[in-house]
């Protein structure tokens, strides 16, 4: 019997699930299941049932039940995954954590917060703001992506250039294991003795355990912020400016790039004030103490000018800054005005390779006849080429996937990797051998076996040709 075929979930299991979470929190209608068959990627897979637990104890009981009956479980947060990691490709139970949104503790003296996995990233920021604190990782999806999902993907965001990614800000996890056991990893203090299991869980895409609560590190809201928009008539100048700024010893909080195609889409959608006639812009933000910030800003302006920037504008008010960011954060969605679907690549390269890789990406788009827009974290070399397409066109998906695979390859050839923050999921599983040798993939499999020896959690993701399987 194939893993997760609906035949595994009979009425008695549905009954048990309803007992655990209450009947109103179990979905089995075909229309409902269809809604949960998707995430933000181009992949889909229909679950057999969707459950919404509200406590760690309920999650534990669901896992124990799934374990007893060998039913795959796919943990899910906001469903914003961009690599197919949260779709039920083999059926089974979709375990949605959206009801687990409690803030267990805001501990300002210790600069920590303990929150449940279903809380939205932005909701946490809003709770922290009155205290003058923030949680640094800020994925563009923060309005609708959950802390648990951020942990599963090791999410980044524009401000990760200066502050690091999720793994640098998560100190503890409450995790439900494949058999229902609940364990605590790490905590408020640093360096819990033993292996860094928090480090392994972060970015494991829901394949090692169900994260139910997260202990995060809080940082002060910086005293001063300066946001600049540098406008370029050629892409090369913009990408060279990125390298030059870093080489000058400046570490801005963000260094984002957007090309013309993306600006046009964004402007139509949000009127953020981007110059649609320019080839590219950089959104550069400085933060920290106000002292000396002006001089650094001037240095940046000078570097941009040297690289043929047409103009460098400074946001004059918080509103102007918010508008620029709203446009940037809404960029993926705005592409809907050009084509109804996109495949977003996530390759990351050493930043000096940006000019060359961007040229190659453009060339790939021309060769396949596919429009490709770029909006990305240039400072960390994390590209997001969006290949835009209409899935109703016959044979287009295959073309798109081939173009995507080529982009992955050029990123690896440039000394980079196939994914910086969106994860392997299903989409890039065939790309894994590009960056990991068979022995390295085997070592990753040992990790999977140590945490989930019967491959119950999010099966078929991350690792190609998993040798462990659900015993029939």
């Amino acid at each position: 019997m194939p893993a997760g075929s609906s035949a595994m979930i009979d009425e008695s299991i549905l009954h048990a699930l309803r007992e655990i979470v209450g009947p109103e929190h179990v979905l089995t209608d075909p229309e409902d299941l269809l809604l949960y068959a998707y995430d933000a990627s181009i992949h889909s897979g229909r679950p057999d049932v969707v459950v919404f637990p509200e406590s760690t104890e309920q999650v534990s009981r669901i896992m124990a039940l799934a374990h007893a009956h060998r039913i795959p479980v796919i943990p899910r947060g906001g469903g914003t995954n961009l690599s197919g990691g949260s779709v039920a490709s083999q059926g089974g139970i979709v375990l949605t954590l959206s009801r687990m949104t409690k803030v267990r503790e805001i501990d300002i003296p210790n600069q920590r917060a303990v929150v449940e996995a279903g809380l939205y990233n932005l909701a946490l920021q809003e709770i922290l703001a009155p205290y003058g604190y923030l949680y640094a990782p800020d994925p563009a999806s923060q309005k609708v992506s959950t802390l648990g999902g951020n942990v599963a993907e090791n999410a980044g965001g524009p401000h990760c250039l200066k502050y690091g990614v999720t793994t640098n800000h998560v100190l503890g996890l409450e995790v439900v294991l494949y058999d229902g056991r609940v364990i605590q990893l790490g905590g408020k203090a640093f360096d819990t003795p033993g292996y860094d299991l928090v480090g392994l869980l972060v970015g494991s895409e829901g394949t090692l355990g169900v994260v139910t609560a997260v202990t995060v590190r809080l940082l002060h809201v910086p005293e001063a912020i300066k946001t600049m928009l540098a406008i370029f008539d050629d892409l090369d100048g913009a990408s060279q400016a990125v390298s030059d700024i870093i080489a000058a010893g400046i570490v801005p909080a963000t260094l984002e790039m957007m090309d013309q195609l993306m600006m046009r889409a964004v402007e139509e959608a949000t009127h953020a004030g981007y110059p649609t006639d320019a080839e590219a812009v950089l959104i550069i933000e400085l933060d920290g103490l106000k002292d000396g910030m002006e001089e650094i800003a001037e240095q940046i302006v000078e570097i941009c000018r040297r690289n043929r920037a047409r103009a460098v504008q400074v946001a004059r008010s918080a509103e102007e800054r918010d508008k620029l960011w709203a446009g940037r954060r809404g960029a993926f969605g705005a592409t809907g005005r050009i084509k109804p679907a996109y495949l977003v690549n996530d390759g990351t390269v050493p930043r000096t390779a940006l000019p060359q890789v961007l040229r190659q990406v453009r060339e790939i788009g021309q060769r396949y006849g596919l429009p490709i827009g770029n909006v990305f974290h240039a400072g960390d070399g994390n590209l997001h080429p969006l290949i835009l397409f209409d899935p109703r066109e016959e044979g287009i998906l295959e073309l798109v996937e081939r173009a995507g695979a080529e982009i992955m390859r050029i990123c690896v050839e440039a000394g980079g990797t196939i994914t910086g923050e969106h994860g392997i999921g299903l989409e890039k599983i065939h790309g894994m051998p590009l960056i990991a040798s068979p022995a390295a993939i085997q070592a990753m499999r040992w990790v999977k076996e140590a945490f989930d020896p019967i491959d119950l959690l999010n099966p078929g993701k991350v690792l190609p040709q998993t040798s462990v399987g659900v015993p029939s």
């Binding site: 003795p193 103490l289 000396g292």
Partner: protein
């Protein structure tokens, strides 16, 4: 197994001049155990072959850098081969424009830092005994120093590595970009694994621009309470000192007239340093601090202060060294609590606090018979305060009944499962890690 027999087998893997059986083995003692052989492979491939041989033969093997962290760990269950990684000292890729450095595990931190300083860059790892410490050793031990407050530890700075596994395979994990989520983050698993999961042969680090200026600030306090009130103000502020250490007054040469010294590292543009100096001085005044002074990093006195706070846990002569971790706001209470040991006449103490990290080092002189009791008391104390304690140094006989890592927690079965898969023959630093893994 007798050394002659081992030698014959080893020489099929390594050339004879890379295998030592003589008295030099005494230099590689761990907790009083001496290996039969010291092996010095020339590259990662040889490390792999050596590990595969050890796995087949069941020989216990302990990787060595320069030995600065070797006191940390339980007594080895078995110790046949000391694996000297000193020959892996190649600079593989110094990519200055991209701020990354890939180097062999045997490179000394000092050599790498001098290299990158030539291009006005910084490899901000400052563990104790950094003069001798090797890159691989620092990463394997997740060793850190004062500047972790600003730059993080190896866990935050290391982007990728090459590792030889117990089965002989050599794998690359991570990469050279800051963002990388391709597969499980094995890099994090090897950092701080103390040579029990694999042998790190090469490391890729993130570098930082060298700050335009660095200075040290010394603040004298009459009472511990004042010092921690000051620290709380600093941590609650928008200021970003690079480091923030507290030591007892008597340890700073020629300046022993206060109860505690705060040693603060500042860096950045002159404007940023002066602003912080001004604000910190005001905070110090608000708690009636007695003495505020600024030292340039280049001055001999600045260097002396830097070395004092960085090296103290390694160079202090006491037989017991414990590193305690608690949530950051509890460091003040922990400082007072441990002083009862001294007040009750059980021990004389030397303390070093890094309050922004929630870390307190305690170095104790006491009657030998009392050391275990003091160590386990400290482990319970840290546990009660929401943290834990690692016994960094204690005479080996005390380790027979004491796990230097503390009591294993609910996550231990997972660690055991990982160890069983990565090292099925149990040859990598056997018995040394938590729960005697």
């Amino acid at each position: 197994m007798n050394p002659e027999e081992m030698l014959t087998k080893l020489e099929r893997v390594l050339s004879p001049q890379q295998v030592i059986t003589s008295d030099l083995c005494s230099a590689c003692e761990v907790d009083g155990r001496r290996p039969s052989i010291v092996a010095r492979p020339q590259d990662a491939g040889e490390v792999g072959e050596l590990l595969a041989l050890c796995s087949r033969e069941g020989w216990g093997v302990i990787p060595w850098g320069s030995g600065t962290q070797m006191g940390i760990g339980n007594i080895p269950r078995r110790y046949d081969v000391a694996l000297d990684l000193g020959a892996l000292d190649e600079i593989v890729d110094y990519d200055a424009p991209n701020l990354t450095l890939t180097a062999g595990a045997g490179c000394t931190l000092r050599a790498l830092q001098e290299l990158v300083e030539g291009k006005r860059q910084l490899l901000p790892l400052d563990p104790p005994a950094a003069e001798r410490a090797t890159l691989g050793g620092v990463v394997a031990a997740n060793a850190f120093g004062p500047s972790r407050l600003r730059y993080g530890a190896a866990r935050d700075i290391v982007l990728g590595m090459q590792v030889a596994l117990a089965n002989g395979e050599v794998i690359d994990v991570g990469g050279k970009t800051v963002k990388n989520v391709a597969g499980y983050d094995l890099t994090r698993a090897f950092i701080g694994s103390y040579g029990t999961l694999g042998v790190i042969t090469r490391v890729t680090c993130r570098l930082f621009p060298m700050p335009p200026e660095r200075r040290w600030m010394l603040i004298g306090f009459d009472r511990a309470g004042d010092a921690f009130a000051f620290v709380q103000q600093v941590l609650d502020s928008v200021l970003l000192p690079t480091s923030l250490d507290l030591v007892q007054g008597r340890v700073v040469p020629n300046r022993s007239d206060v109860s505690l010294w705060g040693v603060i590292g500042l860096e950045g543009t002159p404007e940023v340093i002066q602003r912080q100096y001004r604000d910190l001085s005001a905070m110090a005044a608000s708690v009636q601090a007695r003495h505020v002074e600024q030292l340039a990093d280049e001055e001999p006195e600045g260097q002396q202060i830097r070395r004092l706070v960085q090296d103290m846990p390694a160079v202090s002569p006491e037989p017991l060294v414990v590193r305690l971790y608690v949530p950051i706001s509890a460091v003040g209470s922990l400082w007072s609590a441990v002083q009862h040991l001294e007040a009750e006449g059980q021990a004389s103490l030397n303390l070093l606090a890094r309050p922004g990290l929630g870390v307190l080092y305690l170095m104790a002189q006491a009657r030998d018979a009392h050391l275990s009791l003091i160590a386990s008391t400290l482990q319970s104390l840290a546990g009660e305060m929401g943290g834990h304690a690692i016994i960094e140094r204690i005479p080996a006989e005390h380790k027979v009944h004491l796990d230097v890592w503390g009591t294993p927690r609910s996550d231990w079965p997972l660690m055991q499962a990982l160890k069983a898969r990565f090292d099925p023959a149990g040859i990598l630093s056997p018995g040394r890690f938590i729960g005697r893994l």
